[in-house]
Subunit: 474 residues, 3 copies
């Protein structure tokens, strides 16, 4: 077996002039608190603080970053214990799943998943050996033992990770019971909801009616008109805000924005109620509701996040058997300049709007996103998202946006994860890559070291707090 | 206060093997004359040779590269003295504006604007300290004093910068009085006009009538037919050429080209005269006129420049208050292969056409532009434009075009600036980046040092002269 | 004259930490056999084993990589001996052509063509001096002499190059006589056909009828129905397979896939027979036939290759005079996520399909191709294609796909060339670039050296054999 060893200089450029500066910058940011303004950890994790189950259930079954790569190489999802929707039997022995994963761990060479996992094994769980087929059982036993210890329960890890705030993502119709419980209990950690109303915008989807009923139930009111629907959205935002939410989040395929006349919005809403809304109706309704959300943000100050460009559930047979979030969400080319014109003209100059833009289409970095963020006061560029949350992905983001947008028009780091234990790994990677990016500017004599130190702190800590208005909370 | 110091190795890759070659290559090109075949300096600057006013009027108020970045961070354009159109009062005290700018100068960290400004402060004006809130007054005073000296008037700077030729960009209807005055006066510098007829092509714009009237006035003729209009364009080209113009310039959103039958062009022209031309009419008319311009270039030899892909004045409220060129021109995805098919099939093999292509869409570099330029004899790739005129932007351009287009199918450097004092800074930056790009090829053993020296000179001087046919003038 | 010298460290990153690892990785892969699963060498070359003619006919006249670059600089194709279709006289003296080429060889500085040619001159032909105007005759004489020697006949070179298999690309209607002869003769080398039926799919092209007649002749049957046509395609696949084919290849502009009802396919086929098929009909027919091809691959196990996104014969006047493949094929933006949805949903989870995807649109690497390949078990990413088969192009491919797709979902290297003597040069370049890419991961502490060795071998040899199922042959 091979010892597991994380090199102190990992992810830094090996050039000595760059590396030495990167070391210093990283040393100054590594211990800063972790701010997690956008992610997908379940709030019950912290509310209930139950021990994590076995290693396979912790690391493999719920993580589409992991099982997609084995699936791509012909390992069935059933054999990895991914729960099926249709009753297809799946592997239930966590040790068997773990061994299968370990035997294929070499597939992750050069991926961020590998970097995050090695960090978790080495730093969070102090596993002494590298994971492979030979070490599978030893690592499994080591992890399983740790998971029984109090120090490895969610709240203990929250403290140990140095989290300052952890944000979940919650449907607009969610009852927020876990957030309420956390608030009422008065536990010291900050766990915050984020308002995500997408499902209510998708009027052409068969499930829309259910989501509307959920909203009606939550509001204890019938929402027979667009005005009532809009009002309900506003109320839910305020309910989220009352539990500490500081942001909303919106996922669309195209970030098209366009304000409808009230009467036209009403027509679409009535079609939705009647179950006759078309895909084109939905596109118009979503475009209008993004305008409404931005308008509401200028009033309630919730930071608006926009995550466009993912074609969800591309693999029909897999979606049918296993449901959404199965590693088959595939990006599409995304246009921002024309699509966001209406929204930015209406609200982009407003001092109370902050709109954080994300993309899966890197071609938009230098072409559209950086020029937009380098002009509109409301805009900040979100960090490299999803597939691009990686070493090369982060370097491309910085190299392709900084010169035009300026570093101060970016929003700091988001870990955007549902894998709680990976949070420190992801922040650590981001801080290292930003350190090496800035060090390169120093080594090319574009920045002084003093400036680089100020920027390293900004990218790791200050900008995310400022963007999400956390510095205004205190 | 911190001393202002430009490192001798700035912008070079820090790898010693690369850096040492880069130094040699740069040493061989740094003192070559500056050729500026495309830019936006006002010709009266040289014709009148008046002293520059105060530092704020020189550096901030007219430079959208600068004020957009402060605007993006919430600093109002009024407070920076940007002149309003609608009578909104703006800050008039240049020292107040300067202090505001200095306090926000850190926002430019890692941008080319910062590199250009530091060069101007350090090399052109010999400012001893880095600009920040503390040094604002000292720097202001230093600059204000210099600006009163004869050595800092435009013509003295033209000489000191080592300019060989400086090109302005002029409406087709311009009277070219300053160019005529310069020619008549016989001052030693070469200041040349460039023919930019865009406004006359935009038949759906409300201002089109005015531009046509200006053309009629210039021609002392009524232009009641397309044939007469076309003839007038030809005449204006010759008037420009008589004053030394060697190029035309064309800005369109999409570089669509398509020749209309004369009768169809006439129909569109009559609609334009009647004020009923649509946006689609304009697109067809522009596509046709690009064909006409290329045809005329094969006759008169004016080099044709095409700058597509900018969505102008994206921010309506800002455009309304402050007018165009306010930092809110945002790129859009740009297609070249199909759009230029008609033009390249008709004229791309013609020995007397040179067409210099620019892009704001870097995705087109390796996909379309390099393959086109590596085949059509008429084509040359213009240097990285606007947002991409930067260290990383230039490296991407070279890395993504050179292997397919070959370095000799590129057009050398354009500073493309209205900021006269930034010209040497921009050329210096380009020469340094090209030196480090070529040095990397040497360090990877793709080129000999001798070849790299030949190329360094070509990229800095020979190719721009050849592309714009300046070597045929002498 | 300057000695011709290939540096041992060529193409490696000059950073000492990277270079030292790259050297080791390359040392371990440089001598592995060459697997060429996709290319355009004529099978008669090996079947007849005739000596190559003169240097100009070997290197220049048939190679659009070469003459396009001279053409782009104003050197006529006639003067380079490129055969014309229309009787235009062209230069016939190979020495004159060679001198012209040599005088322009500097144009290739920084291109892969230069790297491949220098390798061929230095390593294959042992030319002692660098090619330029001065050395043109000396090099010509040296080459001409070598070409008369038995050691420089195709089969001798096949052995010397270390080829393990060489694949040609053959029309579906080809009689495969040379492949049959090679098989019957029992020469030790493996030369395999590849099934390329594109011409039969293009029902809107005037030549379609001829291609159909060729198919009918080959099948000795009239193909009056779509069912018969489909059956004939299946039969031809099996005929190819019987001669050792392991793959099919498909070139389309857009990789649109969509299954038609049989009746609708029949309607299109009848229109094709009647000569009335439109461009839209062709698009639908191609989309349907890609589905059929994938379905057949699940049955016969032929690996499916898809090469979309080239706008062929962009330069009409050149195509008219010289025909296709004249350096004027220009890429267009290419969409994969939506276009491949139908095919991947139907067959992308099938264990017997392998689909190798290529692109000329690098914007798709990180946006669409890597996410698709990191999920669908049927998918592998082909190596950087055509213009992107270059040092920077390969680095971009690895940097933009590896973190998301994983290195094991790539298909190894394809030389894709018709220039037989360039094959070892191309593989050598690819192995060097992959070595430096992996060495960078080691130097950044993302991989151990042991892992990098395993990967270097995979990228150079194992993955191509596995992808194209050559490891199942033995």
């Amino acid at each position: 077996m091979v010892p597991l060893y994380l090199h102190e200089d990992r992810f830094f450029d090996p050039d000595p002039a760059i590396r030495s500066v990167a070391r210093e910058l990283y040393a100054a940011t590594r211990a800063l608190p972790l701010v997690a303004p956008h992610g997908h950890v379940a709030p019950e994790l912290l509310a209930e603080n139950a021990p994590f189950p076995d290693p396979a259930t912790l690391f493999i079954k719920p993580d589409h970053y992991i099982f997609r790569m084995l699936y791509a190489q012909g390992v069935s999802m059933e054999s990895l214990g991914v729960p099926s929707r249709d009753g297809t039997p799946v592997e239930t022995d966590p040790r068997v799943i773990w061994r299968r994963f370990a035997a294929h761990y070499y597939l992750f060479a050069g991926t961020p998943t590998r970097a995050w996992l090695d960090y978790q094994l080495a730093k969070v769980f102090e596993v002494p050996v590298a994971l492979d087929a030979d070490s599978a059982d030893l690592v499994y036993n080591h992890l399983a033992e740790r998971l029984t210890e109090p120090a490895f329960r969610p709240r203990a890890l929250y403290e140990r990770f140095g989290l300052e705030v952890l944000t979940t993502t919650d449907a607009a119709t969610d009852d927020l019971r876990y957030h309420r419980a956390l608030r009422d209990e008065g536990w010291g950690g900050k766990v915050r909801p984020c308002f995500r109303p997408d499902a209510l915008f998708r009027i052409a989807q068969p499930e829309w009616g259910q989501h509307l009923h959920a909203l009606e139930a939550r509001q204890e009111a019938q929402l027979g008109s667009y005005a009532a629907f809009r009002e309900a959205l506003w109320d839910r935002r305020q309910a989220f805000k009352a539990l500490g939410a500081f942001a909303t989040d919106h996922a669309v395929v195209d970030p098209y924005t366009h304000r409808l006349a009230d009467a036209d919005a009403e027509v679409l809403y009535q079609r939705a109620l009647g179950g006759t809304a078309t895909v084109a109706d939905q596109a118009a309704f979503e475009a209008h509701l993004l305008m409404e959300m931005a308008a509401m943000s200028t009033e309630d100050g919730l930071v608006m996040q926009l995550h466009p460009g993912s074609y969800r559930d591309h693999n029909g047979p897999v979606a049918e058997r296993f449901g959404p979030d199965m590693g088959a969400d595939i990006p599409v080319a995304t246009e921002y300049t024309r699509n966001l014109h209406a929204l930015l003209n209406a609200y982009g100059n407003h001092p109370n709007l902050t709109l954080v833009l994300f993309t899966l289409d890197e071609a938009a970095y230098s072409r559209e996103l950086a020029p937009l963020a380098g002009h509109y006061p409301a805009l900040r560029l979100g960090p490299p998202w999803w597939f691009h949350d990686s070493i090369e992905g982060m370097l491309r983001f910085r190299q392709q946006t900084s010169e035009t947008a300026g570093l101060y028009n970016t929003a700091g780091f988001n870990d955007d994860t549902r894998a709680f234990c990976s949070i420190p790994a992801r922040h650590d990677l981001a801080r290292r890559v930003d350190a090496t990016f800035l060090a390169r500017l120093v080594a090319r004599h574009q920045l002084t070291e003093r400036e680089a130190h100020r920027l390293a702190r900004a990218l790791a800590y200050d900008l995310v707090r400022q963007t999400y208005r956390l510095d205004q909370e205190e």
